[in-house]
Symmetry: C2
Subunit: 225 residues, 2 copies
Amino acid sequence: MAERSDEVKLLGMWASPFSRRIEIALTLKGVPYDFSEQDITNKSPLLLQLNPVHKMIPVLVHNGKPISESLVILEYIDDTWQNNPILPQDPYERAMARFWAKFVDEQICVTAMKVVGKIGEEREAVVEATRDLLMFLEKELVQKDFLGGESFGFVDIVATLVAFWLMRTEEIVGVKVVPVEKFPKIHRWVKNLMEINVIKKCIPPEDEHLSYIRARMEKLKFKAP
Amino acid sequence: MAERSDEVKLLGMWASPFSRRIEIALTLKGVPYDFSEQDITNKSPLLLQLNPVHKMIPVLVHNGKPISESLVILEYIDDTWQNNPILPQDPYERAMARFWAKFVDEQICVTAMKVVGKIGEEREAVVEATRDLLMFLEKELVQKDFLGGESFGFVDIVATLVAFWLMRTEEIVGVKVVPVEKFPKIHRWVKNLMEINVIKKCIPPEDEHLSYIRARMEKLKFKAP
């Protein structure tokens, strides 16, 4: 648990799945924190000072010391507050968790971002590519309630971007990227997630989130050649 | 230390800085291993079976269980054999080590790869971009012998790709990407690395390495439009 003297601040942005990961982890650990909402289109001097390398949220500031990159922050939280472990204890299971978390960020997220950014035939190709990647998660979920195994963990926190960002964008994009017939396990997993109090508390409210994503997409379309 | 019953096998490739990272870590820990040289242009059924997601080296197989992604493997090695720690013990220092390792792979490596792949004005731009990124490492090395601090650690192992791949390619590319006048600390760090027995033992021999990189570049040129 957090000590009384701990000062924990999160520079984040309400609609960002990366920022929400950190809120989930801190809530799971029972660590109180101040949340500082950041305007990602007009970066604050504080953000630029605390994350001079990437200039991006989320940044966790613990007793004055800043940490950036959401996967790095999650590991830091788990190393610092050891109650309610996020990563498995067994070295091989830890490695598997790190492997899949990296896969979600470097493969699924990078490809899925393009579903929003492309149209027409190009979009069809990235939808297919995203599905091919998601099939690895679908297989991971056979006989498992969570990506972390029997209970919710590191990979689940990281993959909330599939459940509460990618699957929400479907309505706006007008394409079922993750159809239930093809991905029954992923859909069951999203239901399991929604039964967890920490998740219910820490995901962005659906209507506002959809409005926000819709507005961002409109901007992207204006920018397209 | 490794137990007698441990079976450790590395599927790697002699000229790959990613594969060499794992050899450095295993050697540092005193873990004996079998090395299986892989042809990355004609992937073996064993590699495809052990790393079905990325189909890439390195893959560590410990008592029959495969792990891929070099950063994930390094953490696994450190979690499994706890002598001669690779990552710092302090949570904040661990986070900083993870941050910089990720930075080397996702920023420096990705950009530096293009120095080899591009020519003319495009190359000049990526050389400049690579230098901008390296300047962060240069600053990290002020008053430090190693990126890990007083002693050699995780970030140093990861950043050997700067010392023994990027800086070696300079001779072939014909551009000083890391000039000593601009990066005196990085050059001092490379000297410090070369005083470590594990490093001397685990880096690819310079002449063969240069011939290999030269041949790879020739192939790239043939493929260029």
